[in-house]
């Protein structure tokens, strides 16, 4: 349920940006959510839909870009894809993995309008 807090964080970033750039509403918003970021994409989308009414995000098209999980395998010394923490290395089955990618949780960019 922390996705609700994260949605609040997104709105805060949008509002801060609106103050700097002087726009009225967001038409399109792109978020990057890593596979290992600890975020449920559907829950985040739902939370954003819930907080949008009455804000600059009302009616905005929201795109969630999922970046794949990546880890360095200490077992076979290669960079391997992993879908979730606790999965073994797909190459050597070792669990000695150090996640190196897919932890992102960012607002990438937005299309805005002034009215």
């Amino acid at each position: 349920m922390h996705e609700a807090s994260l949605a609040g964080g997104v709105l805060q970033l949008v509002d801060d940006c609106a103050q700097r750039e002087g726009f009225a509403r967001v038409l399109e918003l792109r978020l990057e959510v890593g596979q290992l970021a600890g975020v449920d994409v559907a829950a985040l989308r739902f939370a954003l839909d819930c907080i949008a009414p009455g804000t600059r995000l009302e009616g905005a098209r929201i795109e969630l870009v999922e970046t794949p999980g990546q880890a360095w395998c200490l077992g076979c010394s290669t960079r391997v894809p992993i879908a979730q923490r606790g999965d073994p290395c797909p190459a050597c089955s070792s669990y000695l993995l150090e996640p190196t990618g897919g932890m992102e949780l960012r607002v990438l960019d937005l299309q805005v309008s002034d009215d």
């Binding site: 994260l6 726009f23 600890g38 010394s77 606790g86 669990y95 990438l108």
Partner: protein
């Protein structure tokens, strides 16, 4: 500021600024067009977005410069803004301030996370009492997080340690501004016990950011810098311990950095041994896992070895301690761990019996990795250096 173009010269200047020669009213000069546009736009003098793009040299107007490439009456231009900001950035900035604050004051802050009912508060009470016997001069304070009630803070206060309760209401986790505000309260309410020295002005200043968080999200960065001009090492650095007992929840608190030295995940043997794999983010974020209530092991089905194995699948470097807060079994290991973190494990028998073998293994694995990266780097350097 000049209302014509936003330059630093004021119109109230006795001599009109040479940059703006007076023109008859109504005559549109390029400067005037720019001025209108500039006042229409935000105060940071961004390019006007509602109207056309104006060439600053010629004064030419371009209505097709927006993303829509055309001007439609009644429809404004659409534009794209690249942001690339971390969603948790505002929290992380305050967490960094908390961390600097704790470091400057010699505070070892630990973030205790677990599901509800794992025995965090009981463990804390037992820890506080044991520490008082071993280190009577060591100040220990607690920040308690729960959705409702101050029951836990009252239990802590009953041990004599200062505690501040944070009620998160509907919130499922503590965040860095809450901890900053609670830490300030600890100082206000228990100045003698908590630290025993007065430096109130710094705290007023240091914790102002908890308000900024609500109003803007930005601007926390500068509030704190000067409060920590003093180097750690003088009288503030008397070591002390701050336990932050997070809301009982194995999911959400994993993402929020509070400025702690480490997260400590507590798992009781009355829960499933597979929890580390079911809630991997929390066990990945924790440095230490405490298996609590081990006195109940004879009565429950809980495979300790498997639990540790699963925890290390998600976090190969996690340390593990086995404790019973009620009987006191294993409590010494936990106290050793704390003393080690506090930096005063002065020479007494301290063999890291707990998970020593594993710590060694993960250290070795890291060494191997460093060696590999160094080899990779050397190879890359060669590639760069080699004439193509």
């Amino acid at each position: 500021m000049c209302v014509v173009c936003g330059c630093s010269q004021t119109q109230r200047n006795r001599v009109p600024a040479p940059a703006h020669p007076s023109r008859p009213q109504g005559q549109a000069s390029p400067e005037r067009l720019l001025a209108q546009a500039a006042t229409a736009a935000s105060d940071d003098a961004a390019a006007p977005e509602t109207g056309p793009r104006i060439d600053p040299l010629s004064g030419d107007l371009d209505y097709g410069a927006g993303a829509a490439r055309v001007s439609v009456p009644g429809l404004s231009q659409v534009r794209a803004i690249k942001l690339e900001h971390d969603i948790l950035g505002a929290n992380d900035r305050i967490a960094a301030q908390n961390r600097a604050h704790f470091a400057a004051h010699g505070v070892l802050a630990l973030n205790l996370v677990s599901s509800p009912g794992s025995g965090k508060t009981t463990l804390l009470c037992a820890t506080i009492e044991a520490l008082r016997r071993r280190h009577p001069a060591l100040p220990v304070a607690v920040i308690e997080g729960d959705q409702q009630t101050a029951f836990d803070a009252e239990r802590i206060r009953a041990t004599g340690a200062p505690a501040i309760q944070i009620n998160t209401g509907k919130g499922c986790h503590l965040d860095a501004p809450m901890v900053a505000a609670a830490f300030a309260q600890l100082h206000r309410h228990e100045p003698e016990q908590a630290h025993g020295h007065s430096h109130s002005h710094e705290h007023e200043q240091a914790h102002g950011h908890s308000h900024e968080h609500g109003s803007g999200g930005h601007g926390h960065d500068h509030a704190h810098a000067h409060a920590h001009a003093h180097a750690p090492g003088h009288d503030h650095a008397t070591p002390s311990l701050l336990f932050i007992e997070n809301v009982g929840n194995l999911v959400c608190p994993a993402l929020w950095d509070l400025g702690e030295r480490a997260k400590v995940a507590i798992l009781s043997v009355t829960e499933g041994e597979d929890k580390p794999l079911k809630y991997p983010d929390m066990f990945a974020a924790a440095r230490l896992m405490i298996l609590n209530k081990i006195d109940l092991l004879p009565h429950v089905q809980f495979d300790v070895a498997r639990c540790i194995e699963l925890a290390r699948r998600v976090n190969p470097g996690i340390e593990v301690l086995q404790v019973s807060a009620t009987t006191g079994a294993g409590l010494d290991d936990w106290l050793h761990w704390l003393e080690h973190e506090l930096g005063h494990d002065h020479g007494h028998e301290h063999e890291h019996a707990h998970g020593a073998g594993h710590a060694h293994a993960s250290e070795q694995a890291l060494r191997v990795r460093v060696a590999q990266l160094e080899a990779e780097l050397a190879q890359l350097r060669q590639t760069v250096a080699a004439p193509s």
